[in-house]
Amino acid sequence: MAASPVQVTGTVLTTRRVDAYHALTVVAPGVADRTRPGHFVGVAVGGPSTSMLTRRAFAIHDVKPDYGGTVELVFTVRGPGTAWLADLRARDTLDLVGPLGRPFPLPRDPCTCVLVGGEYGSASLFALADALQQRGCRIDFVLGAPSADRVFGALRARRMGETTTLTTEDGSIGMRGKVTDVLPGVIADTRADVVYACGPMAMLQGVTAVAVEFDIPVQVAVEEAMACGIGVCMTCVLPVIGDDGVTRMVRACTDGPVFRGERVRFEDVGTIPFDALGAPGGRHV
Protein backbone atom coordinates (compact mmCIF):
# COMPACT_ATOMS: atom_id res chain seq x y z
CA MET A 1 0.00 0.00 0.00
CA ALA A 2 1.01 3.58 -0.57
CA ALA A 3 2.59 5.73 2.08
CA SER A 4 -0.13 7.58 3.93
CA PRO A 5 -0.99 10.59 1.75
CA VAL A 6 -1.36 14.16 2.99
CA GLN A 7 -2.90 17.34 1.68
CA VAL A 8 -0.60 20.35 1.42
CA THR A 9 -0.92 23.83 0.01
CA GLY A 10 2.46 24.31 -1.58
CA THR A 11 4.13 27.31 -3.14
CA VAL A 12 5.16 27.16 -6.76
CA LEU A 13 8.93 27.53 -6.91
CA THR A 14 9.57 27.51 -10.63
CA THR A 15 7.68 27.02 -13.85
CA ARG A 16 9.34 26.20 -17.13
CA ARG A 17 8.60 24.93 -20.60
CA VAL A 18 10.28 21.76 -21.83
CA ASP A 19 9.41 21.29 -25.49
CA ALA A 20 5.69 20.50 -25.60
CA TYR A 21 5.49 20.25 -21.81
CA HIS A 22 5.18 22.45 -18.78
CA ALA A 23 7.15 21.65 -15.65
CA LEU A 24 6.10 22.95 -12.26
CA THR A 25 8.18 22.67 -9.10
CA VAL A 26 6.17 22.97 -5.92
CA VAL A 27 7.32 23.13 -2.31
CA ALA A 28 5.46 20.27 -0.63
CA PRO A 29 7.55 18.78 2.18
CA GLY A 30 5.02 16.22 3.44
CA VAL A 31 4.47 14.88 -0.03
CA ALA A 32 8.11 14.92 -1.14
CA ASP A 33 9.26 12.94 1.91
CA ARG A 34 7.00 10.04 1.28
CA THR A 35 7.26 9.81 -2.49
CA ARG A 36 8.58 6.69 -4.15
CA PRO A 37 8.97 6.14 -7.89
CA GLY A 38 5.57 5.72 -9.56
CA HIS A 39 3.60 7.75 -7.06
CA PHE A 40 1.29 10.47 -8.27
CA VAL A 41 -0.42 13.53 -6.80
CA GLY A 42 -3.95 14.92 -7.04
CA VAL A 43 -3.88 18.62 -7.84
CA ALA A 44 -6.74 21.05 -7.20
CA VAL A 45 -7.19 23.29 -10.23
CA GLY A 46 -9.01 26.53 -10.97
CA GLY A 47 -8.69 28.51 -7.75
CA PRO A 48 -11.24 29.27 -5.03
CA SER A 49 -14.39 29.85 -7.09
CA THR A 50 -13.71 27.33 -9.78
CA SER A 51 -16.32 25.24 -11.52
CA MET A 52 -13.86 22.33 -11.74
CA LEU A 53 -14.57 19.87 -8.92
CA THR A 54 -12.15 17.04 -9.44
CA ARG A 55 -8.46 17.00 -8.78
CA ARG A 56 -6.17 16.27 -11.69
CA ALA A 57 -3.70 13.41 -11.39
CA PHE A 58 -0.02 13.88 -12.29
CA ALA A 59 2.93 11.59 -11.92
CA ILE A 60 5.63 12.92 -9.63
CA HIS A 61 8.58 13.53 -11.90
CA ASP A 62 11.25 14.66 -9.50
CA VAL A 63 11.64 15.03 -5.77
CA LYS A 64 14.29 17.37 -4.36
CA PRO A 65 15.24 18.16 -0.78
CA ASP A 66 15.28 21.97 -1.31
CA TYR A 67 13.04 24.05 0.96
CA GLY A 68 12.16 20.98 3.01
CA GLY A 69 11.10 19.03 -0.05
CA THR A 70 9.82 19.84 -3.54
CA VAL A 71 8.01 17.83 -6.15
CA GLU A 72 8.09 18.47 -9.87
CA LEU A 73 5.19 17.73 -12.21
CA VAL A 74 5.44 17.57 -15.98
CA PHE A 75 2.30 18.02 -17.99
CA THR A 76 0.78 18.85 -21.28
CA VAL A 77 -2.22 21.13 -21.72
CA ARG A 78 -5.22 18.96 -22.51
CA GLY A 79 -8.24 20.84 -21.16
CA PRO A 80 -9.23 23.65 -18.80
CA GLY A 81 -7.52 22.16 -15.74
CA THR A 82 -4.11 21.81 -17.31
CA ALA A 83 -4.57 25.19 -19.02
CA TRP A 84 -5.03 26.75 -15.58
CA LEU A 85 -1.91 24.97 -14.30
CA ALA A 86 0.09 26.23 -17.26
CA ASP A 87 -0.82 29.80 -16.27
CA LEU A 88 0.59 29.50 -12.76
CA ARG A 89 3.58 31.62 -11.89
CA ALA A 90 6.24 31.37 -9.22
CA ARG A 91 4.92 32.19 -5.74
CA ASP A 92 1.36 31.12 -6.57
CA THR A 93 0.06 28.35 -4.35
CA LEU A 94 -1.01 24.88 -5.38
CA ASP A 95 -3.11 22.44 -3.38
CA LEU A 96 -1.81 18.86 -3.63
CA VAL A 97 -2.83 15.52 -2.17
CA GLY A 98 -0.18 12.84 -2.26
CA PRO A 99 1.70 10.71 -2.62
CA LEU A 100 -1.00 8.51 -4.12
CA GLY A 101 -1.05 5.05 -5.64
CA ARG A 102 1.21 2.05 -5.39
CA PRO A 103 4.75 2.76 -6.55
CA PHE A 104 6.82 0.58 -8.88
CA PRO A 105 8.00 -2.60 -7.14
CA LEU A 106 11.79 -2.90 -7.20
CA PRO A 107 13.70 -6.12 -7.81
CA ARG A 108 15.48 -7.52 -4.78
CA ASP A 109 18.67 -8.32 -6.70
CA PRO A 110 20.57 -6.38 -9.34
CA CYS A 111 19.25 -7.05 -12.82
CA THR A 112 18.83 -5.47 -16.22
CA CYS A 113 15.81 -3.26 -16.67
CA VAL A 114 14.34 -1.68 -19.78
CA LEU A 115 12.34 1.47 -19.00
CA VAL A 116 9.79 2.36 -21.66
CA GLY A 117 8.17 5.80 -21.68
CA GLY A 118 5.52 7.20 -24.00
CA GLU A 119 5.20 10.99 -24.17
CA TYR A 120 5.03 12.46 -20.63
CA GLY A 121 4.93 8.89 -19.31
CA SER A 122 8.71 8.97 -19.14
CA ALA A 123 8.39 11.59 -16.38
CA SER A 124 7.96 8.89 -13.73
CA LEU A 125 10.82 6.75 -15.03
CA PHE A 126 13.79 8.84 -13.90
CA ALA A 127 13.17 8.49 -10.20
CA LEU A 128 12.65 4.80 -10.87
CA ALA A 129 15.93 4.60 -12.77
CA ASP A 130 17.67 6.24 -9.84
CA ALA A 131 16.27 3.74 -7.38
CA LEU A 132 17.14 0.82 -9.67
CA GLN A 133 20.69 2.04 -10.17
CA GLN A 134 21.11 2.35 -6.44
CA ARG A 135 20.31 -1.33 -6.30
CA GLY A 136 22.95 -2.01 -8.90
CA CYS A 137 20.62 -2.54 -11.82
CA ARG A 138 21.48 -1.79 -15.41
CA ILE A 139 19.08 0.61 -17.08
CA ASP A 140 18.19 1.01 -20.73
CA PHE A 141 15.65 3.51 -21.97
CA VAL A 142 13.19 3.40 -24.81
CA LEU A 143 11.28 6.63 -25.22
CA GLY A 144 8.67 7.36 -27.83
CA ALA A 145 6.16 9.97 -28.90
CA PRO A 146 4.39 11.18 -32.02
CA SER A 147 7.04 13.86 -32.61
CA ALA A 148 10.39 15.09 -31.26
CA ASP A 149 8.92 17.87 -29.11
CA ARG A 150 6.76 15.36 -27.29
CA VAL A 151 9.57 12.98 -26.34
CA PHE A 152 10.17 13.87 -22.72
CA GLY A 153 13.56 13.57 -21.01
CA ALA A 154 15.73 12.26 -23.85
CA LEU A 155 18.83 14.05 -22.55
CA ARG A 156 18.42 12.78 -19.04
CA ALA A 157 17.79 9.27 -20.33
CA ARG A 158 21.02 9.46 -22.35
CA ARG A 159 22.88 10.49 -19.20
CA MET A 160 21.39 7.78 -17.00
CA GLY A 161 20.81 4.83 -19.29
CA GLU A 162 23.30 2.36 -20.62
CA THR A 163 21.56 2.85 -23.94
CA THR A 164 18.69 5.07 -24.97
CA THR A 165 16.53 4.42 -28.00
CA LEU A 166 14.12 7.05 -29.22
CA THR A 167 11.19 6.60 -31.56
CA THR A 168 8.84 9.12 -33.10
CA GLU A 169 5.90 8.47 -35.33
CA ASP A 170 6.93 11.23 -37.71
CA GLY A 171 10.61 10.31 -37.58
CA SER A 172 11.57 13.79 -36.36
CA ILE A 173 13.97 12.22 -33.88
CA GLY A 174 15.25 8.67 -33.40
CA MET A 175 13.65 5.84 -35.33
CA ARG A 176 10.42 6.37 -37.19
CA GLY A 177 7.78 4.23 -35.53
CA LYS A 178 6.62 3.15 -32.12
CA VAL A 179 8.44 1.96 -29.04
CA THR A 180 7.13 -1.53 -29.65
CA ASP A 181 8.96 -1.60 -32.96
CA VAL A 182 12.33 -1.28 -31.27
CA LEU A 183 11.61 -2.89 -27.90
CA PRO A 184 12.22 -6.51 -28.96
CA GLY A 185 15.67 -5.53 -30.23
CA VAL A 186 16.52 -3.71 -27.00
CA ILE A 187 15.36 -6.58 -24.84
CA ALA A 188 17.34 -9.04 -26.90
CA ASP A 189 20.49 -6.88 -27.00
CA THR A 190 20.46 -6.13 -23.29
CA ARG A 191 19.14 -9.52 -22.22
CA ALA A 192 16.70 -7.61 -20.08
CA ASP A 193 15.24 -9.23 -16.99
CA VAL A 194 12.31 -6.91 -16.55
CA VAL A 195 10.44 -4.15 -18.34
CA TYR A 196 8.88 -1.05 -16.73
CA ALA A 197 6.52 1.06 -18.79
CA CYS A 198 4.50 4.21 -18.46
CA GLY A 199 2.54 5.88 -21.22
CA PRO A 200 -0.70 5.68 -23.20
CA MET A 201 -2.82 2.55 -22.74
CA ALA A 202 -2.23 1.32 -26.30
CA MET A 203 1.51 1.53 -25.75
CA LEU A 204 1.29 -0.37 -22.47
CA GLN A 205 -0.66 -3.07 -24.19
CA GLY A 206 1.98 -3.36 -26.92
CA VAL A 207 4.85 -3.35 -24.43
CA THR A 208 3.15 -6.04 -22.39
CA ALA A 209 2.74 -8.20 -25.46
CA VAL A 210 6.45 -7.90 -26.22
CA ALA A 211 7.46 -8.73 -22.65
CA VAL A 212 5.15 -11.71 -22.60
CA GLU A 213 6.76 -12.88 -25.83
CA PHE A 214 10.17 -12.72 -24.13
CA ASP A 215 8.66 -14.24 -21.01
CA ILE A 216 9.98 -11.52 -18.72
CA PRO A 217 7.99 -9.60 -16.11
CA VAL A 218 6.56 -6.22 -17.05
CA GLN A 219 5.27 -3.49 -14.73
CA VAL A 220 2.98 -0.93 -16.29
CA ALA A 221 1.67 2.34 -14.84
CA VAL A 222 -1.79 2.91 -16.28
CA GLU A 223 -3.77 6.13 -16.75
CA GLU A 224 -7.54 6.10 -16.17
CA ALA A 225 -9.84 9.08 -15.62
CA MET A 226 -10.00 9.58 -11.86
CA ALA A 227 -12.49 11.56 -9.79
CA CYS A 228 -10.86 11.10 -6.36
CA GLY A 229 -7.45 9.43 -6.64
CA ILE A 230 -7.81 8.06 -3.09
CA GLY A 231 -9.92 4.98 -3.70
CA VAL A 232 -13.39 6.09 -2.64
CA CYS A 233 -15.29 6.86 -5.86
CA MET A 234 -14.84 3.71 -7.96
CA THR A 235 -14.68 5.60 -11.25
CA CYS A 236 -11.14 4.60 -12.26
CA VAL A 237 -11.59 0.85 -12.56
CA LEU A 238 -10.20 -1.55 -15.11
CA PRO A 239 -10.37 -5.34 -15.42
CA VAL A 240 -7.36 -7.01 -13.81
CA ILE A 241 -6.81 -10.70 -13.19
CA GLY A 242 -6.08 -11.53 -9.54
CA ASP A 243 -3.75 -14.13 -8.07
CA ASP A 244 -6.75 -16.44 -7.90
CA GLY A 245 -7.32 -16.12 -11.63
CA VAL A 246 -10.51 -14.13 -11.13
CA THR A 247 -10.96 -10.90 -13.06
CA ARG A 248 -12.04 -7.98 -10.89
CA MET A 249 -12.80 -4.35 -11.68
CA VAL A 250 -10.00 -2.81 -9.63
CA ARG A 251 -9.17 0.81 -8.95
CA ALA A 252 -6.33 2.32 -10.94
CA CYS A 253 -5.72 4.85 -8.18
CA THR A 254 -5.18 2.67 -5.12
CA ASP A 255 -4.83 -0.84 -6.47
CA GLY A 256 -2.57 0.69 -9.15
CA PRO A 257 -1.58 2.70 -11.06
CA VAL A 258 1.25 0.12 -11.36
CA PHE A 259 0.14 -3.37 -12.32
CA ARG A 260 1.84 -6.44 -13.70
CA GLY A 261 1.21 -5.95 -17.41
CA GLU A 262 0.03 -9.48 -18.13
CA ARG A 263 -2.65 -9.18 -15.45
CA VAL A 264 -4.33 -6.19 -17.11
CA ARG A 265 -6.99 -7.15 -19.61
CA PHE A 266 -6.14 -4.33 -22.01
CA GLU A 267 -8.53 -5.59 -24.68
CA ASP A 268 -11.40 -5.30 -22.25
CA VAL A 269 -10.63 -1.90 -20.74
CA GLY A 270 -13.81 0.16 -21.04
CA THR A 271 -16.02 -2.90 -20.68
CA ILE A 272 -17.12 -5.25 -17.94
CA PRO A 273 -15.80 -8.62 -19.17
CA PHE A 274 -18.54 -11.23 -18.92
CA ASP A 275 -16.37 -13.36 -16.65
CA ALA A 276 -15.46 -10.57 -14.23
CA LEU A 277 -16.55 -10.91 -10.61
CA GLY A 278 -20.06 -9.49 -10.35
CA ALA A 279 -20.48 -9.00 -14.10
CA PRO A 280 -24.12 -8.92 -15.22
CA GLY A 281 -25.02 -12.54 -15.86
CA GLY A 282 -21.46 -13.49 -14.95
CA ARG A 283 -19.66 -14.90 -11.93
CA HIS A 284 -21.43 -15.02 -8.60
CA VAL A 285 -24.55 -13.28 -9.85
Binding site: A225, C233, M249, V269, G270, G278, V285
Partner: protein
Protein backbone atom coordinates in the same frame (compact mmCIF):
# COMPACT_ATOMS: atom_id res chain seq x y z
CA UNK B 1 -21.63 15.17 9.65
CA UNK B 2 -22.11 11.99 7.62
CA UNK B 3 -20.45 10.64 4.52
CA UNK B 4 -22.82 10.28 1.57
CA UNK B 5 -23.41 6.76 0.32
CA UNK B 6 -20.99 5.65 -2.34
CA UNK B 7 -18.56 8.48 -1.66
CA UNK B 8 -16.55 7.18 1.29
CA UNK B 9 -15.35 3.83 -0.01
CA UNK B 10 -15.15 1.16 2.68
CA UNK B 11 -14.07 3.59 5.38
CA UNK B 12 -10.47 2.39 5.29
CA UNK B 13 -9.49 4.81 2.56
CA UNK B 14 -10.71 7.85 4.52
CA UNK B 15 -9.20 6.53 7.74
CA UNK B 16 -5.81 7.42 6.27
CA UNK B 17 -6.84 11.06 6.59
CA UNK B 18 -9.01 11.31 9.69
CA UNK B 19 -10.61 9.27 12.42
CA UNK B 20 -13.81 7.84 10.98
CA UNK B 21 -15.24 7.20 14.44
CA UNK B 22 -15.58 10.96 14.82
CA UNK B 23 -18.06 11.09 11.96
CA UNK B 24 -21.72 11.52 12.84
CA UNK B 25 -21.93 8.29 10.90
CA UNK B 26 -20.17 6.52 8.10
CA UNK B 27 -22.66 5.68 5.37
CA UNK B 28 -21.63 2.71 3.22
CA UNK B 29 -22.06 2.55 -0.52
CA UNK B 30 -25.30 0.81 -1.40
CA UNK B 31 -24.87 -2.87 -0.64
CA UNK B 32 -26.50 -5.40 -2.96
CA UNK B 33 -27.20 -9.10 -2.47
CA UNK B 34 -24.76 -10.37 -5.08
CA UNK B 35 -21.36 -8.95 -5.97
CA UNK B 36 -21.64 -6.37 -8.76
CA UNK B 37 -18.94 -5.32 -11.19
CA UNK B 38 -20.80 -2.11 -11.98
CA UNK B 39 -20.79 -0.14 -15.22
CA UNK B 40 -18.08 0.06 -17.85
CA UNK B 41 -15.74 3.05 -17.93
CA UNK B 42 -15.74 5.99 -18.48
CA UNK B 43 -17.78 6.19 -15.31
CA UNK B 44 -17.31 9.87 -14.62
CA UNK B 45 -17.46 13.19 -16.39
CA UNK B 46 -16.90 16.58 -14.90
CA UNK B 47 -19.59 19.19 -15.57
CA UNK B 48 -19.75 22.84 -14.46
CA UNK B 49 -19.61 22.72 -10.65
CA UNK B 50 -20.80 19.14 -10.92
CA UNK B 51 -19.81 15.57 -11.54
CA UNK B 52 -21.65 12.90 -13.46
CA UNK B 53 -21.09 9.34 -12.34
CA UNK B 54 -22.30 5.96 -13.43
CA UNK B 55 -20.55 3.52 -11.14
CA UNK B 56 -23.47 1.12 -11.15
CA UNK B 57 -23.28 0.02 -7.51
CA UNK B 58 -20.01 -1.83 -7.89
CA UNK B 59 -19.53 -3.81 -4.71
CA UNK B 60 -18.68 -7.20 -3.26
CA UNK B 61 -22.23 -8.20 -2.29
CA UNK B 62 -23.72 -8.42 1.17
CA UNK B 63 -21.85 -11.54 2.30
CA UNK B 64 -18.41 -10.12 1.61
CA UNK B 65 -19.55 -6.82 3.09
CA UNK B 66 -20.52 -8.52 6.32
CA UNK B 67 -17.27 -10.44 6.59
CA UNK B 68 -14.76 -7.91 5.24
CA UNK B 69 -16.10 -4.40 5.59
CA UNK B 70 -18.61 -4.06 8.41
CA UNK B 71 -16.40 -5.76 11.05
CA UNK B 72 -13.57 -3.31 10.35
CA UNK B 73 -15.94 -0.39 11.01
CA UNK B 74 -17.56 -2.10 14.00
CA UNK B 75 -14.23 -2.93 15.65
CA UNK B 76 -13.23 0.70 15.56
CA UNK B 77 -16.57 1.76 16.96
CA UNK B 78 -17.60 3.79 13.93
CA UNK B 79 -21.32 4.49 13.73
CA UNK B 80 -22.28 2.83 10.46
CA UNK B 81 -25.34 3.45 8.34
CA UNK B 82 -25.67 0.63 5.87
CA UNK B 83 -27.16 1.69 2.56
CA UNK B 84 -28.97 -1.05 0.65
CA UNK B 85 -30.02 -1.28 -2.98
CA UNK B 86 -32.11 -3.84 -4.81
CA UNK B 87 -34.14 -4.51 -7.91
CA UNK B 88 -37.24 -5.87 -6.17
CA UNK B 89 -39.03 -5.42 -2.87
CA UNK B 90 -37.99 -8.95 -2.00
CA UNK B 91 -34.32 -8.15 -2.54
CA UNK B 92 -34.45 -5.12 -0.24
CA UNK B 93 -36.25 -7.22 2.35
CA UNK B 94 -33.69 -10.00 2.12
CA UNK B 95 -30.88 -7.46 2.56
CA UNK B 96 -32.55 -5.97 5.62
CA UNK B 97 -32.97 -9.45 7.13
CA UNK B 98 -29.36 -10.29 6.42
CA UNK B 99 -28.30 -7.10 8.26
CA UNK B 100 -30.70 -7.59 11.15
CA UNK B 101 -28.37 -9.62 13.30
CA UNK B 102 -25.11 -8.10 12.16
CA UNK B 103 -23.44 -6.16 14.98
CA UNK B 104 -22.53 -2.54 14.35
CA UNK B 105 -25.41 -1.37 12.17
CA UNK B 106 -26.48 2.05 13.44
CA UNK B 107 -29.19 2.53 10.84
CA UNK B 108 -30.30 1.20 7.48
CA UNK B 109 -30.59 3.59 4.56
CA UNK B 110 -32.80 2.48 1.72
CA UNK B 111 -31.43 3.72 -1.59
CA UNK B 112 -34.63 4.08 -3.59
CA UNK B 113 -32.88 5.23 -6.76
CA UNK B 114 -32.67 1.71 -8.11
CA UNK B 115 -34.69 0.51 -11.09
CA UNK B 116 -37.62 -1.68 -10.14
CA UNK B 117 -37.24 -4.79 -12.26
CA UNK B 118 -40.89 -5.62 -11.74
CA UNK B 119 -42.05 -2.21 -13.00
CA UNK B 120 -40.23 -1.99 -16.32
CA UNK B 121 -37.18 -0.54 -14.68
CA UNK B 122 -38.99 2.44 -13.20
CA UNK B 123 -36.95 3.82 -10.34
CA UNK B 124 -38.58 3.20 -6.93
CA UNK B 125 -37.95 6.78 -5.78
CA UNK B 126 -40.15 8.12 -8.57
CA UNK B 127 -43.23 6.28 -7.49
CA UNK B 128 -44.57 6.96 -4.01
CA UNK B 129 -46.36 3.67 -3.64
CA UNK B 130 -43.54 1.35 -4.63
CA UNK B 131 -41.13 3.42 -2.54
CA UNK B 132 -43.45 3.02 0.44
CA UNK B 133 -43.71 -0.70 -0.16
CA UNK B 134 -39.93 -1.10 -0.05
CA UNK B 135 -39.67 1.05 3.08
CA UNK B 136 -42.44 -0.84 4.86
CA UNK B 137 -40.93 -4.22 4.24
CA UNK B 138 -37.42 -3.09 5.17
CA UNK B 139 -38.87 -1.56 8.34
CA UNK B 140 -40.56 -4.84 9.17
CA UNK B 141 -37.37 -6.83 8.64
CA UNK B 142 -35.18 -4.50 10.70
CA UNK B 143 -34.69 -4.51 14.48
CA UNK B 144 -37.03 -2.06 16.17
CA UNK B 145 -34.17 0.00 17.60
CA UNK B 146 -32.42 0.43 14.26
CA UNK B 147 -33.84 3.40 12.34
CA UNK B 148 -34.74 3.04 8.69
CA UNK B 149 -33.87 6.01 6.47
CA UNK B 150 -35.51 6.43 3.07
CA UNK B 151 -33.24 8.08 0.52
CA UNK B 152 -35.13 10.07 -2.09
CA UNK B 153 -34.26 11.50 -5.45
CA UNK B 154 -35.29 14.90 -6.81
CA UNK B 155 -36.39 13.62 -10.22
CA UNK B 156 -40.07 13.72 -9.38
CA UNK B 157 -42.91 16.16 -9.90
CA UNK B 158 -43.75 16.25 -6.20
CA UNK B 159 -41.05 15.36 -3.70
CA UNK B 160 -43.38 15.99 -0.76
CA UNK B 161 -45.78 13.32 -1.95
CA UNK B 162 -43.01 10.72 -2.19
CA UNK B 163 -41.63 11.76 1.19
CA UNK B 164 -45.06 11.42 2.77
CA UNK B 165 -45.54 7.95 1.29
CA UNK B 166 -42.21 6.82 2.71
CA UNK B 167 -43.01 8.19 6.15
CA UNK B 168 -46.40 6.53 6.02
CA UNK B 169 -44.59 3.35 5.03
CA UNK B 170 -42.59 3.55 8.24
CA UNK B 171 -39.45 5.53 7.42
CA UNK B 172 -37.94 6.98 10.62
CA UNK B 173 -35.98 9.59 8.68
CA UNK B 174 -35.45 10.81 5.14
CA UNK B 175 -32.20 11.38 3.28
CA UNK B 176 -32.20 13.65 0.28
CA UNK B 177 -31.20 14.10 -2.39
CA UNK B 178 -29.77 11.34 -4.48
CA UNK B 179 -28.28 12.43 -7.78
CA UNK B 180 -30.61 13.77 -10.49
CA UNK B 181 -30.13 11.99 -13.80
CA UNK B 182 -27.92 13.91 -16.19
CA UNK B 183 -25.87 13.40 -19.29
CA UNK B 184 -22.97 14.87 -21.09
CA UNK B 185 -21.97 14.40 -24.72
CA UNK B 186 -18.31 14.53 -25.70
CA UNK B 187 -18.24 16.87 -28.68
CA UNK B 188 -14.97 15.42 -29.91
CA UNK B 189 -15.88 11.73 -29.94
CA UNK B 190 -19.51 12.80 -30.56
CA UNK B 191 -20.63 10.11 -28.11
CA UNK B 192 -22.01 10.24 -24.55
CA UNK B 193 -19.18 11.03 -22.15
CA UNK B 194 -20.18 8.14 -19.89
CA UNK B 195 -20.17 4.57 -21.14
CA UNK B 196 -23.58 4.17 -19.52
CA UNK B 197 -24.94 7.22 -21.36
CA UNK B 198 -26.72 8.85 -18.46
CA UNK B 199 -25.37 9.24 -14.93
CA UNK B 200 -26.08 10.83 -11.61
CA UNK B 201 -25.26 14.51 -11.19
CA UNK B 202 -23.66 15.52 -7.88
CA UNK B 203 -21.73 18.45 -6.49
CA UNK B 204 -22.48 22.15 -5.87
CA UNK B 205 -24.39 22.40 -9.17
CA UNK B 206 -27.32 20.52 -7.60
CA UNK B 207 -27.25 22.23 -4.21
CA UNK B 208 -30.10 24.64 -5.00
CA UNK B 209 -32.28 21.69 -6.02
CA UNK B 210 -31.36 19.75 -2.89
CA UNK B 211 -31.97 22.70 -0.56
CA UNK B 212 -35.35 23.24 -2.19
CA UNK B 213 -36.30 19.57 -1.61
CA UNK B 214 -35.26 19.74 2.05
CA UNK B 215 -37.16 23.00 2.47
CA UNK B 216 -40.36 21.66 0.93
CA UNK B 217 -40.33 18.39 2.82
CA UNK B 218 -39.49 20.05 6.14
CA UNK B 219 -42.33 22.53 5.59
CA UNK B 220 -44.78 19.72 4.93
CA UNK B 221 -43.48 17.20 7.49
CA UNK B 222 -41.78 19.27 10.19
CA UNK B 223 -41.48 16.36 12.61
CA UNK B 224 -39.54 14.07 10.30
CA UNK B 225 -35.73 14.08 10.64
CA UNK B 226 -34.02 14.91 7.36
CA UNK B 227 -30.45 14.19 6.34
CA UNK B 228 -29.59 16.85 3.79
CA UNK B 229 -27.05 16.40 1.04
CA UNK B 230 -26.14 17.57 -2.41
CA UNK B 231 -23.13 19.76 -3.09
CA UNK B 232 -22.02 20.42 0.46
CA UNK B 233 -18.41 21.60 0.39
CA UNK B 234 -18.19 23.99 3.35
CA UNK B 235 -19.70 24.84 6.70
CA UNK B 236 -21.78 27.55 5.02
CA UNK B 237 -23.26 25.00 2.62
CA UNK B 238 -24.02 22.68 5.55
CA UNK B 239 -25.69 25.51 7.44
CA UNK B 240 -27.82 26.26 4.40
CA UNK B 241 -29.26 22.72 4.63
CA UNK B 242 -29.74 23.00 8.39
CA UNK B 243 -31.59 26.31 8.09
CA UNK B 244 -33.76 24.76 5.38
CA UNK B 245 -34.71 21.92 7.72
CA UNK B 246 -32.03 19.21 7.79
CA UNK B 247 -31.00 17.91 11.21
CA UNK B 248 -27.91 16.23 9.77
CA UNK B 249 -25.81 16.83 6.68
CA UNK B 250 -23.94 14.38 4.47
CA UNK B 251 -20.92 15.06 2.31
CA UNK B 252 -20.40 13.22 -0.96
CA UNK B 253 -18.42 14.48 -3.94
CA UNK B 254 -16.57 17.01 -1.80
CA UNK B 255 -14.63 14.04 -0.37
CA UNK B 256 -13.14 13.48 -3.80
CA UNK B 257 -11.60 16.91 -3.71
CA UNK B 258 -10.81 17.17 -0.03
CA UNK B 259 -10.38 13.92 1.88
CA UNK B 260 -10.59 15.92 5.12
CA UNK B 261 -13.91 17.46 4.08
CA UNK B 262 -16.01 15.90 6.87
CA UNK B 263 -14.03 17.08 9.88
CA UNK B 264 -13.35 20.45 8.22
CA UNK B 265 -17.01 21.10 7.41
CA UNK B 266 -18.02 19.96 10.90
CA UNK B 267 -15.60 22.48 12.41
CA UNK B 268 -16.70 25.28 10.09
CA UNK B 269 -20.35 24.57 10.85
CA UNK B 270 -19.73 24.66 14.59
CA UNK B 271 -17.98 28.01 14.23
CA UNK B 272 -20.83 29.46 12.20
CA UNK B 273 -23.38 28.25 14.74
CA UNK B 274 -21.40 29.76 17.61
CA UNK B 275 -21.03 33.08 15.76
CA UNK B 276 -24.79 33.16 15.35
CA UNK B 277 -25.38 32.43 19.00
CA UNK B 278 -26.67 28.87 18.74
CA UNK B 279 -25.81 26.51 21.55
CA UNK B 280 -27.04 23.48 19.72
CA UNK B 281 -27.46 22.53 16.09
CA UNK B 282 -31.07 21.61 16.85
CA UNK B 283 -31.91 25.26 17.50
CA UNK B 284 -30.97 26.17 13.93
CA UNK B 285 -32.85 23.36 12.18
CA UNK B 286 -35.46 24.80 9.85
CA UNK B 287 -34.95 28.31 11.15
CA UNK B 288 -35.19 29.89 7.70
CA UNK B 289 -38.86 28.91 7.73
CA UNK B 290 -39.56 31.18 10.70
CA UNK B 291 -38.49 34.77 10.11
CA UNK B 292 -37.35 36.47 13.30
CA UNK B 293 -38.95 39.80 12.33
CA UNK B 294 -42.08 40.17 10.26
CA UNK B 295 -41.35 42.96 7.80
CA UNK B 296 -42.64 42.60 4.26
CA UNK B 297 -39.36 40.94 3.20
CA UNK B 298 -39.92 38.41 5.94
CA UNK B 299 -43.05 37.04 4.41
CA UNK B 300 -42.81 33.40 3.44
CA UNK B 301 -45.13 33.08 0.52
CA UNK B 302 -43.49 30.19 -1.12
CA UNK B 303 -45.29 29.14 -4.17
CA UNK B 304 -43.63 26.13 -5.53
CA UNK B 305 -43.39 27.46 -9.05
CA UNK B 306 -40.39 29.21 -10.46
CA UNK B 307 -42.48 31.99 -11.86
Amino acid sequence: MLTASGCGGTGRELAQFFDVTRLGAFVTRSITMAPRAGRPTPRMAETPSGLLNAVGLQGPGVEAFLTQELPWLAERGARTVVSIGGGTVAEYTALARRLADAPGVTAVEVNLSCPNIEDRGRVFARDGSSAAEVVASVRAATRYDVPVIAKLASDVADIVAVARSCVDGGADALAMINTPVGMSVDVDSMRPALAAGTGGLSGPAIRPIAVRCVWQVHAALPGVPIIGMGGVTSGRDALEFVLAGACAVAVGSALFHDPYACPRIQRELEELLTERGFDRLADAVGLAHHPPGSGPRGRTDLEESSL
